[in-house]
């Protein structure tokens, strides 16, 4: 059996590397951030703020519960999406 000459060996290695590179490139998927919808509740009296998960039917300005600090109404001031990983980290 003849041994491979350096040029042929180089070409084979190059071809294999090219195929592996092309395979990895096609498998590459862009990373996607997952978002969750949160709502910001603010007490009109003492300014207490709390962030909670959005519930269907909620809208900005809706009065939702009482302030744990002063007992006045908590109002939804904002509904927004945040990076899910940040919420998990904070909780």
């Amino acid at each position: 059996m003849n041994t491979l000459d350096p040029y042929t060996l180089f070409m084979i290695v190059l071809t294999v590397l090219l195929i592996v590179y092309m395979y990895l490139e096609t498998r590459k998927r862009p990373t996607r951030t997952e978002y969750v919808t949160r709502e910001l509740l603010v007490c009109e009296g003492c300014g207490f703020q709390v962030e909670r998960d959005f519930e269907p039917g909620d809208f900005i300005g809706l009065v939702k519960g009482k302030c744990p600090r002063c007992g006045r109404e908590l109002k939804i001031k904002g509904i927004y999406s945040v990076d899910k990983s940040k919420v998990l980290k904070a909780s």
Binding site: N2, Y35, I79
Partner: protein, 364 residues
């Protein structure tokens, strides 16, 4: 492997390349690869549409309509023909008429199918079906060009389509994601204008409120000025007719207005930060024309300074649930508008502030 074998293989490869080139077979192979890739993506779009259609039909049936597919099918293929543009006389009037007729017709379809449902839920149904119709239109147009390209062996058409597919897929994904806020009533990025006005209203002393053409008009006192706030009536999915209403308001006030400020979401350029605020001159409103021109005409006729404030975001952020950065920008925009009013007018002046955009999730 000796030198002769390598030389033979190289010659065969060159021969194959030569035959492919002179017969044009290489282009045909390339065309097949492009068509295959486009078809795969088209199938993905179809799956998304089918999934979204089931979601929308379920939403409608939960509201009490037993045959949602009839309503969805009717609105899905609904179209509006643009007015003749080679004759520009009255084009705005004609365009406005077409838009209003289109809106009223879709609204009537939904209303007749869901007579016992509230205005808020009906507006969500209307917009959800419109989002679905947008997706369906993209699907049909792509399919048309793919089949035309294949039928006519038009490789240029297929190549253009293949190159455009990543952008088109991003639009499809955006529309798919937009269904969530429009089905559940969450504010979207485009709601930033109405949100700023809502927050300004909370700081003002409201004198009166009325609703004209689905648009709320509030007469208030703020920072010793008489301020009229204009926004689409919320919290349903609604953009209202702010241009027509501002024009009416200016005429009612006989042109005695010292400043008009419009606040809207604007598409950012790549590299710009989401939620950054910029001010300028003009009417910040992205309608097809009638609303914008109404504001411009009213301001120009009476010489009223027309100022604009924009909150920057990309296309996806404008149509999907409002991001926290945009919400925080809305708070900064409130202070910006107050600063603008104080700088541009004197106490007792009359000012019109309009929050432009879809007011979904934002009341009043």
């Amino acid at each position: 492997m000796n030198g002769d074998t390598i030389s033979l293989i190289t010659q065969i490869i060159w021969l194959i390349i030569f035959i492919l080139l002179i017969t044009g077979l290489n282009t045909k192979i390339q065309m097949r690869i492009w068509a295959m890739d486009i078809r795969n993506k088209l199938n993905l779009i179809k799956r998304i549409i089918d999934e979204d259609r089931v979601r929308v039909e379920k939403m409608i049936s939960n509201l009490g309509y037993q045959t949602p597919s009839v309503l969805v099918g009717r609105v899905l293929d609904f179209f509006t023909i643009e007015p003749v543009s080679i004759e520009p006389i009255d084009i705005i009037k004609r365009l406005d008429h077409m838009i209003r007729t289109s809106e009223a017709t879709v609204r009537r379809f939904v209303e007749s199918s869901l007579p016992n449902t509230g205005k808020f839920e009906r507006s969500l149904v209307e917009t959800s079906i419109e989002v679905l119709a947008g997706l369906n239109l993209i699907y049909k147009v792509i399919r048309h060009y793919l089949l035309t390209g294949e039928k006519e062996n038009n490789w240029v058409l297929l190549m253009q389509l293949e190159l455009l597919m990543p952008t088109i897929m991003r639009y499809v994904e955006t529309y798919h994601m937009a269904l969530d806020p429009f089905m559940s009533g969450k504010p979207v990025g485009d709601s930033v204008g109405p949100l700023v006005v809502y927050n300004l209203l909370e700081k003002s002393k409201v004198v009166s409120k009325r609703v004209i053409e689905d648009t709320s008009v509030f007469e208030t006192w703020l920072e010793d000025r008489r301020v009229f706030f204009v926004k689409a009536e919320g919290p349903g999915s609604n953009v209202g007719h702010p241009g027509a209403v501002i024009r009416k308001l200016v005429e009612e006030l006989k042109g005695n207005v010292d400043l008009i400020v419009t606040i809207d979401a604007a598409l950012k350029l790549e590299g710009e930060e989401t939620g950054s605020i910029a001010e300028g001159v003009g009417a910040a409103i992205g309608d097809p024309g009638p609303e914008k021109i109404a504001i411009e005409r009213a301001a120009a006729e009476y010489g009223i300074p027309l100022r604009a404030l924009i909150v920057k975001m990309d296309y996806r952020e404008a149509l999907t649930v409002m991001k926290k950065e945009i919400f925080e920008a809305s708070r900064r925009a409130v202070d910006y508008v107050l600063k603008l009013i104080k700088e541009e007018t004197k106490p007792n002046a009359t000012v019109i502030v309009a929050g432009i955009g879809n007011t979904i999730g934002v009341p009043m």
